[in-house]
Amino acid sequence: MGNALCLTAVNDEAAKLGLAPGMPLADARAMYPGLQAVAADAAADAALLESLAGWCLHYTPLVGLAPPDGLVLDISGCAHLFGGEAALRQDLLRRLKGFGFRARAAIAGTVGAAHALARHGGAAVAADGDVRDALRPLPLAGLRLDPETVQGLNESGFAAIGALYNLPRAPLAARFGVALWRQLDRALGLEGEAITPRTPPPRFSVERAFAEPLVRMEDVLTVAEELAGRLTLLMAQQGAGARGLELLLFRLDGQVQRLTAGTSRPLRDPAFMRRLFADRLTVCEDEYDPGFGYDLVRLCAHAAEKLDAAQDGLCEGADETALARLTDRLTARLGEAQVLRLTGQDTHIPEAASILLPARTASLFTPTPPPAQDTLLAARPLRLFARPQPLDGTPLATAPDGVPLRFRWRRVLHEVVASEGPERIAMEWWRGAEGRTLTRDYFRVACKEGGRFWLYREGLYHQSAPRWFVHGLFA
């Protein structure tokens, strides 16, 4: 309603007084001056819904969001684990009540029917044959139509969903659009509707529930290894190996904690999976607080690749496998951005010619041909500064753009005894149009006390005041 502040939600007491969502705040305040109102926080609500959706993974891997306040669970094939559909619903409602939520739930063969039944009363569990009858008395708002359509239909004398069943379709479609019939067909199961899961369901997943919750992380790791054993059996049957692992820890209070680990090669080794999780835990143990304990632990393999059985130990690739495993463990503990491999790029700009990429995913170094130069020293330094280090002041040189004879870096005076250069490195011509210019004259210099540096001057004397930097150290 324009810029007016409106009520977005009311509690029981307020509802009894006649306040309802959508009412302007000023009106409500006028009716009840003592009204307590807090600003709505849509982001926090969404986050809460997300975390609740995470907890619902407890019941099924396929959980979709129905914002702002709904969740859709696909429980096909999961209900029997909880003693049937009705029992699953009871269990879900009981636990949600325990967390302090007031929830309504309904089970039906289609998303539309379940939505209508859950939000507008009616049968808690509707079998596929009963959906038509179950929806008949419910208000039209249950069909997920936009408010104008519902209002128009109400004004035309249609109040319940059942009133639409035997109507000719063309006249109403002409007035209210085909969305009306599509939503009805979806609710009745005449047209299919897919649930968009929040996270893609994992390809392989095993879990174990505990009557007595786990409270120690060592126990969690032991359980993880046991689950990994079952997971590898599953994967071995299909000739697959895990590339991404996720351990879901369902805490008693409804929080779900995730422990992830990636591997550089398809993996089917329970003991090693445990080590990966253990390494991950050593660095971020504080983030995993068991609280009152975990009552369900689930291990999923999100990314899986083909892995055929191979003889271990005596074969050729044993060393490579050992190195890949080392990389995985280091990555698990230190982080993806800390375990790196050198990768070459085809450019003359020194800092871009060799870059560091995560070792798990990096391709091997494709060397650019090193510039042919008359030097016994390497043409490029062994160590390069990510950010060139500025010299203190301008070096002393015979000519303004000549070889530096004496320079000061890190407050120490260095006297040049031998030098090679200049080597001009400029921005590629096709990049100049972007407004980025770079003209550097590089010098290899050896100093009196033995240090060997890679210096450069940026800019040209006749254009601007050049600046000097140390870019690298030679061996």
Binding site: D319, T327, Q338, L342, A386, A418, A475
Partner: protein, 258 residues
């Protein structure tokens, strides 16, 4: 009781007594430890036949401006390891800020293909030492270079002993690069103080070869000493500097073949 049939004779052997002619097996003793010869007689004799391949060696630059030289010496040693496998270079977070990170095209003179290098940066010294230990135990690793910021106080006597233990059983070559000398004790086998030195020139006014002034400050297997050493990037060998300048003929040296 068991028997071994050799081609020329049947020898009856009793357990506990080695047959004549075989050298006595002294597992774990100094003589049995593998050595990594440096190829320069003066150095190898001081080291007792070469660098002990499974003991920790410390390399310390003589001041921050010689960090490049020290890193080059460490890489030269790592590149001489004959075992196939990766070279793991672990930098403690601040070390790269102070002295730069390993640069792919600059590895060429040491015969180390950039794809062999696994570069780690660990924020804490504790993590860097853990990563060193784990890497040393890995079969797919040839050498481990651990670079600690400042003096690396975190690697004291206990930690360096742990590194020795990790390398002892068929491990990789452990090298510890401290940016400054450590005041306390360390369990390393050798400690080298490295300075860059002017190398043999090319006769045309260039800088010349990579050269180091090495000071062996601690040596468990022999006397200490100081040497000038050059790196011959054609043959990838250490060598004593030549008295006169000699220009080497150009040689095609693809590092990919390494």
């Amino acid at each position: 009781m068991f028997y071994i049939r050799s081609p020329d004779e049947n020898t009856r052997m009793t357990p506990g007594k080695p047959p004549a002619g075989l050298p006595p097996c002294r597992l774990g003793s100094k003589a049995a430890a593998p050595r990594l010869p440096l190829g320069v007689a003066a150095l190898d004799s001081a080291l007792g036949g070469g660098l002990a391949a499974r003991r920790l060696h410390e390399i310390v630059p003589d001041g921050v401006f010689h960090l490049g030289a020290a890193a080059g010496f460490a890489l030269a040693l790592a590149g001489r390891v004959t075992r196939r496998g990766a070279i793991v270079w672990i930098q403690q977070g601040l070390a790269a800020l102070e002295g730069g990170a390993p640069y792919g095209p600059g590895l060429e003179p040491f015969g180390v293909a950039p794809s062999r290098l696994l570069i780690l940066s660990a924020a804490r010294a504790k993590d860097a030492l853990w990563a060193m230990e784990e890497s040393l135990r890995c079969r797919g690793v040839a050498a481990v270079i651990g670079e600690l910021a400042e003096a690396g106080e975190a690697a004291g006597l206990t930690e360096t002993r742990r590194l020795n233990l990790a390398a002892e059983e068929d491990g990789a070559l452990p090298l510890l690069l401290r940016q400054k000398p450590l005041a306390g004790a360390s369990a390393c086998a050798t400690r080298w103080i490295v300075r860059g030195a002017p190398g043999t020139g090319d006769g045309f006014g260039g800088i010349g070869r990579i050269a180091w002034a090495l000071a062996l400050e601690k040596n468990r297997d022999g006397p200490c000493g100081a040497w000038r050493m050059e790196w011959d990037h054609d043959t990838r060998n250490f060598r004593a500097p030549l008295p006169v300048a000699v220009a080497a003929p150009p040689v095609h040296r693809p590092y990919r073949a390494a």
